[in-house]
């Protein structure tokens, strides 16, 4: 999607790519370098310097973007991140930065937001309930007792939570949907690291065992978070789709090269229609994935009235197309793709997980119907 970037965006992307190549190439992803706290902190700090976590924050709060459309800038960075399966809660931190900018208290904006933007701290969004269709706000209930608020329940699929990580928790109370900003190290919040199909990132389950939070932990007003959650969900959808498109693009290139190089029956296998036509179809789906993701980023970032719908459409389309593409690449690689040392499985794992993250294709299709008043 480089050809879609403006000159200013290209500067941002080039710097970002250099950073990733130096600090976290695929070999380091394989080693799970990001699970080391010191490494992760340094990664975040440098990413913060590049502006990765400031793009959805208005200038008067210290943020900024290069094109006037922060969602589009972030999506282009996400696309580059996806190509080398970068770890770290990029989507989460940006979603939380957006939420604090939009609805955070003065304290949250002044104390937490700058730390997120600089990469000093990270943030992740605890949204998915452990069971059921990802009806986003389920899983954790909030009860107000005196000046404190008590959270109980569980969220899962929370990405890259570490000791310095703030959690934005979307929960239900009698008043409706509310959100809470939970500081790292809060008592009765138990983070359980899980193993995962996707080995490029770390997912956790977070248990809220009657965790007490001060009222100041509320983001926005109690029970009024519905619209903000919808917007956060759209941002997460677009950024996840963009990361997927990056991963698709890279995997497609690997596979294309293999189809040209691999010889069987005295010919390169890419000369057989069975392979050639499959690659042509995959290329079409990849181009459509790029087109719909960019369209969604443009629409959501410019508040043109169709952003929520477009975001859900992009997530649904790319979710399915990404898994299809990874499966087809696997088929073309054949036996060699079954080996641990080959990279294809890293992409298959990532794209399959991305499809489910922040709402799977079926969920976003249903959401599109609801947004369209069907």
């Amino acid at each position: 999607m480089d050809s879609d970037a403006t000159d200013d965006q290209k500067v941002l992307l080039d710097a970002s790519v250099r950073f990733m190549q130096q600090v976290c190439p695929l070999t380091r992803v394989r080693e799970r370098a990001y699970s080391n706290i010191t490494y992760a902190a340094e990664y975040r700090r440098q990413a913060g310097e590049l502006g990765w976590f400031s793009m959805l924050v208005p200038e008067d709060l210290g943020g900024g973007n290069v094109s006037g459309n922060g969602v589009l800038d972030a999506a282009l960075v996400a696309y580059k991140r996806g190509a080398t399966l970068q770890p770290g809660p990029f989507t989460g931190t940006n979603v939380v930065a957006h939420a604090l900018s939009t609805a955070g208290s003065k304290e949250q904006r002044q104390k937490v937001l700058p730390a997120l933007m600089s990469g000093e701290a990270s943030a992740s969004w605890a949204i998915s309930p452990p069971a059921g269709h990802p009806a986003m706000e389920d899983g954790v209930s909030a009860e107000f007792r005196g000046g404190a608020c008590v959270l109980s329940g569980c969220k899962t699929f929370v990405q890259d939570v570490d000791e310095s990580c703030w959690l934005l928790v979307t929960a239900r109370s009698n008043a409706g949907v509310s959100q809470f900003l939970v500081p790292p190290g809060t008592p009765a919040v138990r983070v359980v690291a899980l193993d995962s199909l996707d080995i490029s990132r770390q997912f956790s389950e977070v248990h809220f065992e009657g965790a007490q939070l001060p009222a100041s932990a509320l983001v926005g007003m109690e029970g009024k978070a519905f619209d903000l959650v919808a917007h956060q969900s759209a941002i997460a959808a677009v950024l996840t789709a963009a990361e997927s498109v990056g991963a698709m693009d890279h995997e497609f290139e690997m596979t294309l090269r293999y189809a040209k190089d691999r010889i069987a029956f005295g010919r390169p296998i890419g000369s057989f229609q069975a392979i050639k036509h499959l690659l042509a179809d995959m290329s079409l789906m990849l181009e459509m994935s790029k087109a719909i993701t960019l369209a969604a980023a443009r629409s959501l970032g410019s508040d043109d009235g169709y952003g929520l719908e477009a975001a859900s459409m992009a997530k649904a389309f790319v979710g399915d197309a990404g898994v299809d593409l990874a499966q087809n690449c696997f088929q073309i690689f054949g036996g060699i793709g079954f080996t641990w040392e080959h990279d294809q499985h890293l992409y298959l794992r990532r794209l399959t997980t991305d499809a489910a993250l922040y709402g799977d294709p079926a969920w976003h299709r249903e959401r599109l119907c609801q947004l369209s008043k069907l």
């Binding site: 000369s271 050639k276 036509h277 079409l284 087109a291 119907c369 069907l374």
Partner: protein, 432 residues
């Protein structure tokens, strides 16, 4: 100078001749609002080749004349041939602005006349030919069609067997053509014939302008599976054509065909003419409501899928257009993405309607012609996956020309065509 270079030079030349585009946009906007009727988005237009009545054609001719008189036909065509001599960017502005209006509709033949045929002529025909025909084309007086495909030459576009024999300063044509869209109301046809059989297939072809009233020419409508007859089949029996009416060089017909292909695939348009789909598949929603299934989660998934595909296809089209605009050269293989997308998703979409509607889509009262629209869409759902280049041909093009994959073995590109025909039946796949 190759055709591709000639074309791109032409495009660049026109682009440089810039007047104030925004000024032009205002002018166009005002004229359209004052003179044409609006249309609205009601779901994607299904491909269909409908029979056109003489009245409909006459109406479209009048509307085309209106555009021509106002200077909006052939905006980027040279003035000496009846155009306005403005740039491709102006043409684009007009297309963007007019997307919401009812425009002349000559059916599929119209699209062919104004994009592929007129533009290929501009690139290849002689000045005297262009002065003779082009103003009539732009004003709607001459509608053209193609005599291109043959019963034995479909995907294999260069496998033409219609024979043209030179006879002094005229040519005698014999053979058979098929899938000529709108030939029954066209005034002229651009006809491809083989003029040399002893060279490989691409090197012995020539284009001719044939009047649809020519003696020895029989035009017969083909009844389609939807009962319409928008296509025709032709039989050429000693049809005489003057040498003046050869388009491009003799035996260089493949070069013209390549140009035509570029424009047919939309490289000459460089901009989507459809509206952005921002309403959830209205046709499917209406159908689901009618049969009381709009709350069925499985149906809702299908409706959403259809709309998402529409939306992705629209933005793919925009993306392709932008890429083509940014490029110095026409890129037919890039345009093939749009064709393949349509060929892939149109049949799926037509099928979704039938699945949602059930009996409501499959059955209708004999006197309710609107009731049959889902069935007709369904039957025509494969139009874009077959007509003007099958999905398989698009995949070959994308695979080899965009992705750079090694070629399919070719058994017919280096041998005399007469020999290829003779050998094909004995083909056994063995390569010595």
């Amino acid at each position: 100078m190759s055709i591709v270079e000639a074309l791109s030079e032409g495009m660049r030349k026109m682009e440089t001749d810039v007047t104030d585009l925004e000024e032009f946009r205002k002018e166009v906007r005002a004229w359209l609002a004052a003179n044409l009727k609006r249309r609205r988005y009601s779901g994607p237009q299904a491909a269909r080749t409908e029979t056109k009545t003489p009245e409909e054609i006459a109406e479209s001719r009048a509307l085309q004349r209106k555009l021509f008189d106002a200077g909006y036909a052939g905006i980027s065509f040279p003035k000496e041939y009846g155009g306005r001599g403005l740039s491709a960017a102006h043409e684009r502005v007009f297309r963007e602005e007019s997307a919401g209006y009812v425009m002349p509709d000559f059916g599929a033949a119209g699209a062919v006349t104004f994009s592929a045929i007129a533009r290929s002529m501009l690139a290849h025909a002689s000045p005297s030919f262009l002065r003779r025909h082009m103003p009539k084309i732009l004003s709607g007086e001459e509608i053209w069609c193609q005599f291109y495909s043959e019963p034995a030459a479909g995907s294999d576009l260069a496998g033409i067997r219609t024979r043209a024999t030179r006879d002094g300063d005229r040519w005698i044509l014999n053979g058979s053509k098929i899938w000529s869209t709108g030939a029954y109301y066209a005034d002229f046809a651009m006809c491809l014939a083989r003029t040399d059989w002893d060279v490989p297939k691409h090197r012995g072809l020539t284009w001719f302008a044939v009047s649809t009233k020519a003696e020895g020419l029989t035009i017969r409508p083909i009844v389609q599976i939807d009962g319409e007859a928008g296509f025709c089949q032709e039989f050429l029996d000693d049809v005489v054509v003057s040498s003046d009416e050869v388009i491009g060089e003799v035996n260089q017909g493949w070069a013209v065909a390549q140009t035509m292909l570029v424009y047919e695939r939309g490289a000459g348009q460089a901009g989507p003419v459809v509206l952005e789909p921002r309403t959830l598949a209205p046709d499917l929603v209406a159908l689901a409501r009618k049969v009381g299934r709009s709350n069925d989660p499985v149906v809702r998934q299908s409706i959403a899928r259809a709309h998402i595909n529409d939306y992705a296809q629209y933005h793919l089209g925009k993306r392709i257009a932008a890429r083509l605009r940014a490029s110095d050269q026409p890129q037919p293989a890039v345009a093939a993405y749009g064709k393949l997308a349509s060929g892939t998703f149109s049949p799926i979409r037509a099928r979704i309607a039938v699945e949602i509607g059930g009996p409501e889509a499959l059955l209708w009262h004999p006197d309710d012609k609107r009731g049959m629209r889902y069935a007709v869409n369904y039957l025509n759902g494969r139009m874009t996956s077959i007509a003007a280049g099958t999905n398989e041909m698009q995949r070959n093009g994308i695979g080899e020309r965009v992705l750079g994959l090694p070629r399919e073995p070719s058994f017919d590109s280096n041998r005399p065509f007469s020999e290829v025909i003779a050998n094909a039946r004995n083909w056994d796949g063995r390569v010595s």
